[in-house]
């Protein structure tokens, strides 16, 4: 990682080009499970972004102190700390959202987006870039699962953020708020984002995290982490 990264491109990277959910296909579990409503997607995204920024910052600060062999337990402890903070904050201030998201808030500890960014980015970059990466990736995750949640909520329940939007237009198709609808909408959005990202970047070269073999990256051929 000798070349210099522009902070702005690190920040924007996570939105479309390396969108963690729809391009890197990380964190599928919450993306499918909590996205029955747009509001849930937004809440989940915000919680994960908080943890992502915090853990990226701390991990990049301690990256030179922590021995390589024990880095995974160390990182998990950091991530768990931030997850506990966000869990307790939600329970105190947004108890309803906390109830809706249920087990998926504590499960942010094992959300692969956060761990992937720790391994792929924070471990190798300074605190400023790591925070920006966390923000960008978190925003990308939020964008993706809010989009999935919006499509599912509008088609499946006829509301958006709880507001009725399709009153007399059509009867909502309940399937979209059931699990098969989640997979279906996710598939379509992955296709859409692949199209968007390919159009934006014909060279298909990723600027960060190439070791992980992000989709569409020509460097992915030499294998990545699982």
């Amino acid at each position: 990682m000798a070349e210099r990264k522009k902070p702005i491109s690190v920040l924007l990277n996570g939105l479309i080009k390396e969108n963690p959910t729809l391009r890197l296909l990380l964190g599928m579990c919450p993306s499918l499970a909590v996205t029955t409503m747009a509001k849930n997607g937004l809440g989940m995204g915000a919680a994960a972004t908080f943890v992502l920024v915090g853990s990226n910052l701390v991990i990049s600060l301690i990256r030179k102190i922590v021995p390589d062999k024990v880095r995974i337990p160390a990182y998990i402890t950091v991530i768990a700390t931030f997850t506990t903070i966000v869990h307790l904050l939600l329970a105190a201030f947004l108890p309803e959202l906390n109830k809706q998201l249920g087990i998926y808030i504590p499960l942010i500890v094992v959300n692969c987006i956060i761990f992937a960014r720790a391994e792929m980015f924070a471990q190798k970059n300074g605190p400023l870039l790591s925070v920006l990466d966390g923000l960008g990736m978190g925003a990308g995750f939020t964008l993706a699962i809010t989009a999935i949640g919006s499509v599912r909520e509008i088609l499946g329940a006829g509301t958006w953020m709880g507001i009725p939007v399709t009153v007399n237009l059509f009867e909502p198709a309940i399937m979209f708020i059931l699990p098969p609808g989640g997979f279906l909408v996710m598939g379509f959005l992955v296709a859409l984002f692949n199209k968007l990202a390919d159009k934006k970047d014909k060279s298909l070269e990723c600027e960060t995290g190439c070791e992980a073999g992000c989709p569409g990256c020509s460097k992915a051929a030499n294998g990545g982490e699982a």
């Binding site: 009867e171 909502p172 198709a173 309940i174 399937m175 059931l178």
Partner: protein
């Protein structure tokens, strides 16, 4: 000189059978059932059939254009899908829902997976499953056939299997055979479906294995797992009720989604029969044919792998 040395890859001998001809045969075989549907459920049934067939063809044309592939509406497979979908719908279904069903069948299940020959489940059945999950009440609001409606002033009407589940009056077997019962517009008349099935058998479009083994398994299980203990069931009731005839003759036999080997076909058909009876008897759904066929559709790759015949001189698999 160069032409003499030219060797093309196999197949060297082609049969006269084309996709178009096969599909046309299926359409011809479905006509009796379609007319029975119109006879029993009136012009509303005809409207639904026309809408699903036309919308299926239109969607097939549009999606192929969008995906920049060649147009395939000439092979008539979209017409077959639309027709089978219509026969799976209750005659009261709003027209736009039928169009949504066609969209799901053609665009999502068929063309996005590669088109004819690549769909992993039967498109019409998947669309039916989609509609029944999404619009459960609409998809199960049965009306009595016109021939019955004259003397009973009823707004809703139970299918034989619905009556069985909820303890209503069971229709007699003759009515069930002719189709004088409630249900989807193409599933009620066993007679019309059997006529179509015989046509397909004579034309060699399908073989007897899947329908006969499937229906036989259902009959056998219905007889064994009777309501008053073992071997007391009425096999004919379960054979004639619901969508079994339509499913066994026209949907389970779809080439793409049924196994390739004879042994595989037997496993597949028995699986369909067992699952159908399990759904009918032990779940809260009255009917299980569509889910049974869909589940066996997705097991076909495994069945094919397990029943792969040994190459000449080679060792048997599994």
């Amino acid at each position: 000189m160069e032409n003499m040395l030219y060797v093309s890859s196999s197949p060297h001998i082609r049969s006269e059978v084309t996709t178009q001809r096969l599909m046309l045969d299926v359409i011809i075989a479905l006509i009796p059932a379609a007319f029975a549907g119109i006879y029993f459920f009136g012009l509303r049934a005809a409207l639904l059939i026309a809408v699903t067939v036309i919308s299926s063809v239109v969607f097939e044309y549009l999606i192929r254009k969008m995906l920049k592939r060649n147009t395939t509406i000439g092979d008539l497979s979209a017409v077959v899908t639309g027709l089978i979908l219509a026969l799976n719908l209750p005659s009261t279904l709003p027209v736009w829902m039928a169009v949504v069903g066609s969209f799901f069948a053609i665009v999502i299940v068929k063309q996005l997976f590669g088109g004819l020959g690549y769909n992993f489940v039967n498109p019409a059945l998947a669309a039916r499953a989609f509609l029944i999950v999404s619009y459960g009440a609409r998809m199960t609001s049965w009306t009595p056939p016109l021939t019955v409606a004259n003397d009973i002033d009823a707004l809703s009407y139970a299918t034989p299997l619905g009556a069985l589940k909820e303890g209503g009056q069971l229709p007699n077997l003759l009515d069930m055979f002719i189709g004088n019962i409630g249900g989807s517009l193409g599933e009620t008349s066993a007679l019309a479906l059997i006529v179509g099935g015989i046509y397909l058998l004579v034309r060699g479009v399908i073989t007897w294995h899947i329908p006969v083994i499937y229906i036989g398994t259902v009959g056998l299980l219905a007889w064994i797992i009777g309501p008053d203990g073992i071997f007391t069931g009425n096999p004919l009731f379960h054979i004639l009720a619901g969508g079994l005839m339509l499913g066994a003759i026209f949907m389970a036999t779809d080439y793409t989604t049924s196994p390739m080997t004879k042994k595989g076909v037997v496993i597949y058909a028995i699986g369909c029969g067992v699952l159908t009876m399990l759904f009918r008897l032990y779940t809260n759904m009255p009917e299980g044919v569509s889910y049974a066929i869909l589940l066996m559709n997705v097991s076909v790759p495994i069945i094919d792998r397990c029943t792969k015949p040994a190459r000449f001189g080679g060792k048997a698999h599994v």
